[in-house]
């Protein structure tokens, strides 16, 4: 193996013991003396004027401490474009809109009080389709957006895609539609606001952006940011959903302010379905061309996004969709346009992979269609166009390490491409390109670590890097253990408190192990320098010959000269003019913030993968059975192979759910399936019986011990891979998600292939 003591080995996640014994403390478990429970009353209409709110009856419910409405709780707006009032005063624009809120001594009292608030609405015409919303005469949602078109769009051009398509030997095109799915974190959302000394606010939250959250909470509520402390309990799932700040969080603060008591809001599962953001649905029109040899000539895409009633991160998902469209394979000419339209629907936020799964659904199906037209095997077609180390993509992404070709070969071989198939069986492959070395989507892509060694050889890593279940804590601890030659058990990660951890921009873009891991290395190098200086005279060695192994500092020229790390720390503490052993690391990767031209090396390395699936389609029901799944990923290096496998397995389940069965079903803006029975995630028995995961280790020079980020990568190619397999099995192209039995069956019927 790697020759490392800890990196690359199978270890227990550092939080696993607490989680298997029920000791882990989640947000749901937090309880503070005097704490009240908050509930939110939401709109009864998709679009209406609020004529009057009479909250007085709510105050009559025993146990109620406060009722607030927009009239008595003035705040700033939230959201990417700050178009989202926290409590809606004069108008509601979707069913999830917050109209009033109650704090009471019990959930039941709060619920009862909410039901007594009388709201008089004057319903307004509503619109639920982005194309209808743009039509003349459609109801207008926000004054800032004539025809509901939001003045924030994407326009990227490299070369001349139109001309290149015209002169291409083969072209393929299609319109692709992706749907509403949601994160379904197993722990529902919570927020707990506690005011203390001098009006300071401690806000307990499952946020993925503790430090950015301080700023937003301050801007919206007026509490000075330096008085806001964010505490994060163990987080029961996030997947991108907690990258924004939402009204319920501000409402918890307002209620705590009003009552002078701690206030906690916990969503019910029904609320979680109805009121948390979704994945961004899109309509994507895309065309692609190639020459006679199957070399890609151009890609052109136009996407229209249903923004819903307010703007969260959904509107920026084209940013990441574009990365796949411009940079998966070598393609010289690219044209990309995307814009968002207000409707009275749900709004979308970030969700694992951002817009990349949506874009890749289109992108990778067109690759298969081009291959078919050019008479080239789809695997060979991909290999001919695959990215290579040292190349630069149209968005000026600099490809350093790249294992795409190896991934393609491995996935194709293991699924049995070109081999025998039973009737109605097919194989499909799809690849993906994603950021793997952080992503400078904010001006900062940095993460800080303070490392402290104590008298007994225990290493504490204090950091702002958030753990959301992906195992980044464990990877950071493993890296710390590796650097200092300590056992993993001697390393702890303290990352639940903005008062303690140094800055981190947030856990997104699969960045935490890559960025946080590098910050740990820097902090540990700092510590090692200090220890060398102190240890060398103690054992009579030259500082530059000292190595760190087995909890000791060892002279590599003369291993008999060695000393326990803890002894050195004690010696440094227990003396006159003593010192402490604390190291600092702040890693901000060498990547670039893109300007308005969407060019610049946004990540300091990139992740690649190929997924291949074998499916059987039942022509009488339209049901797709996934018989085998192969995922091959360029991971740079597997720091924690078990954790890495887990990330890919989890992505496969979410990706197949996205492709096959999950769908939020709305009727005129009202959600019809707000529970786990009607919203169909894949269950254990629905998973393919045979799943293989292969890691291609390209040892990235910028990655910590060579690693790349990988947590999002696994979901990105899946819908396309399945659609390609369905086309191979029964000769129909599915361009609309999800591929439920009903949808597949009607496509089969339309093609005269249903039985």
């Amino acid at each position: 193996m790697s020759g490392f003591a800890c990196v690359g080995r199978k270890v227990h996640k550092i939080d696993a013991f607490d989680k298997v014994t029920g000791r882990a403390v989640y947000g749901h478990d937090l309880r503070i003396p005097g704490m009240l429970h908050g509930r939110i009353l939401r709109s009864a209409h998709a679009h209406a004027r609020i004529a009057e709110i009479d909250a007085r009856p709510a105050l009559g419910v025993p146990g109620v401490h406060a009722v607030i409405t927009a009239a008595d709780a003035k705040t700033g707006n939230i959201g990417f474009l700050q178009d989202h009032p926290v409590l809606k005063g004069d108008r509601v624009r979707s069913f999830r809109d917050e109209v009033a809120a109650v704090a009471a001594s019990s959930e039941e009292a709060a619920e009862e009080a909410c039901s007594r608030i009388i709201v008089k609405y004057e319903p307004l015409p509503a619109v639920f389709d982005p194309f209808e919303a743009m039509a003349p005469g459609a109801p207008q949602l926000h004054d800032s957006a004539p025809a509901n078109i939001i003045k924030f769009g994407y326009d990227f051009n490299e070369g001349d895609a139109d001309k290149a398509l015209e002169s291409s030997a083969f072209t393929a095109e299609g319109t692709f539609r992706t749907h509403y799915v949601t994160h379904c974190c197993m722990e529902t959302c919570f927020a707990l606001a506690v005011f203390g000394r001098g009006g300071s606010l401690t806000f307990h939250s499952s946020t993925q952006i503790p430090y950015l959250m301080q700023n937003t909470l301050s801007r919206v509520t007026g509490v000075p940011a330096w008085k806001i402390r964010i505490r994060q309990p163990v987080i029961g799932g996030a997947f991108g959903s907690k990258l924004d700040v939402y009204p319920y969080e501000i409402i918890a603060i307002l209620l705590a302010q009003r009552t002078g008591r701690p206030v906690k809001i916990t969503y019910t599962r029904e609320e979680e379905f109805r009121c948390t953001p979704t994945r961004q649905p899109m309509v994507i029109r895309m065309s692609a061309g190639c020459d006679r040899e199957g070399k890609l000539t151009a890609r052109k895409a136009e996407a229209v996004l249903d923004n819903g009633a307010y703007t969260s991160w959904g509107i920026t998902t084209p940013h990441i969709m574009l990365t796949g469209i411009s940079s998966l394979y070598k393609v010289p000419n690219v044209s990309f346009k995307a814009f968002s339209v207000y409707t009275n629907n749900a709004y979308a936020s970030a969700f694992r992979g951002y817009g990349n799964p949506q874009g890749t659904f289109a992108n990778e199906q067109l690759i298969d269609e081009l291959a078919l037209k050019a008479g080239i095997d789809p695997v060979e077609f991909r290999l001919r166009n695959a990215n290579t180390p040292g190349s630069v993509t149209p968005q000026r992404f600099r490809i350093t390490t790249c294992g795409l070709s190896e991934c393609i070969r491995k996935a194709a071989e293991r699924i049995g491409f070109g081999g025998p198939k039973a009737a109605n069986e097919g194989v499909g492959i799809a690849c993906m390109f994603h950021v793997g070395g952080g992503g400078r989507v904010y001006k900062s892509d940095g993460c800080g670590v303070i490392a402290k060694l104590d008298d007994f050889g225990r290493l504490s890593l204090m950091t702002g890097a958030t753990e959301i279940g992906t195992g980044s804590d464990t990877a950071m601890a493993m890296i710390g253990a590796e650097c200092l030659g300590l056992p993993l058990d001697a390393v702890s990660v303290i990352n639940d408190d903005t008062d303690v951890g140094p800055w981190d921009v947030g856990i997104h873009a699969s960045r935490m192990t890559f960025i946080g891991g590098n910050a740990v290395i820097m902090a540990c190098e700092d510590i090692k320098d200090q220890l060398r200086e102190h240890a060398a005279p103690m054992i009579g060695s030259d500082p530059k010959n000292l190595e760190f192994r087995d909890s000791k500092i060892i002279d590599c020229m003369n291993p008999d000269r060695n000393i326990e790390i803890s002894r050195v720390v004690r010696a440094v503490h227990f003396r006159e003019k003593g010192r402490m052993i604390v190291g600092k690391g702040f890693y901000d990767p060498p990547n670039e913030f893109q300007g308005k031209d969407f060019r610049g090396n946004v990540s300091s390395t990139y992740a690649f993968a190929a997924h291949a699936v074998r499916v059987r389609v039942d022509p009488s029901t339209g049901k797709i059975a996934v018989l085998k799944f192969v995922a091959a990923h360029d991971v740079g290096r597997a720091i924690n192979p078990l954790g890495l496998e887990g990330q890919v397995h989890g992505a496969i389940a979410q990706g197949l759910g996205f492709a096959l069965s999950e769908q939020l079903v709305y009727d005129k803006g009202r959600l019809l399936n707000d529970n786990f029975t009607d919203y169909k995630m894949l269950l254990a028995r629905d998973m393919p019986a045979e799943i293989e995961i292969h890691f291609i280790e390209t040892d990235d020079p910028e990655g910590p011990f060579g690693a790349k980020g990988v947590s999002e990568a696994g979901i990105i190619p899946i819908p396309a891979a399945v659609a390609n397999a369905v086309a191979d099995a029964v000769g129909i192209r599915i361009r609309t998600l999800p591929m439920t039995p009903e949808n597949v069956h009607s496509a089969l019927k339309a093609a005269g292939k249903a039985t």
């Binding site: 029920g22 974190c185 197993m186 599962r269 397995h649 496969i652």
Partner: protein, 139 residues
């Protein structure tokens, strides 16, 4: 009051999690007289005189149950929210079927939703625990 609320709110035993409170997710699974139940669907008063085993009681005496070990060994834990319920369901299952096939293990946990792991490593953990329990004679 449900058994779930009794455990969490009244006894302060928060190892058992609430994912839906409607019997759809299995996060709240505990053993009631040895049978797995969704504690969100059982009234506390129905449990009068019955034995309730939760995740906290599984490692009584400080020794982890083989399933708890196996969940750590096989990487079956991510956010961990489903984990206690998943393990309790596994305990009951392995008592009735000490030598399960992968397919049987999948069906056994189909009422327990996990959003993070894709189930693969959970199934592996159940099978690994079965092997360990047969070898070590733990029931």
């Amino acid at each position: 009051m449900t058994l779930l609320d009794f455990l969490r709110e009244y006894l302060g035993m928060t190892g058992t999690n609430a994912g839906c409170r409607t019997g759809d997710c299995g996060a709240c699974t505990v053993l009631l007289d040895g049978k797995s139940v969704n504690s969100c669907l059982v009234l506390a008063c129905e449990c009068d005189g019955k034995a309730v085993l939760t995740i906290e009681g599984l490692s009584a005496g400080g020794r982890l149950h083989p399933l708890q070990e196996a969940f750590m060994d096989e990487g079956a834990v991510q956010c961990g929210f489903c984990t206690p319920g998943m393990i309790m369901r596994g305990v009951e299952f392995l008592r009735g079927n000490p030598d399960p096939s992968p397919a049987e293990a999948r069906v056994a946990i189909e009422g327990n939703i996990c959003r993070c792991t894709g189930y693969e490593n959970i199934v592996k953990a159940v099978l690994a625990a079965a092997r360990k329990m047969k070898g070590g004679g733990v029931a």
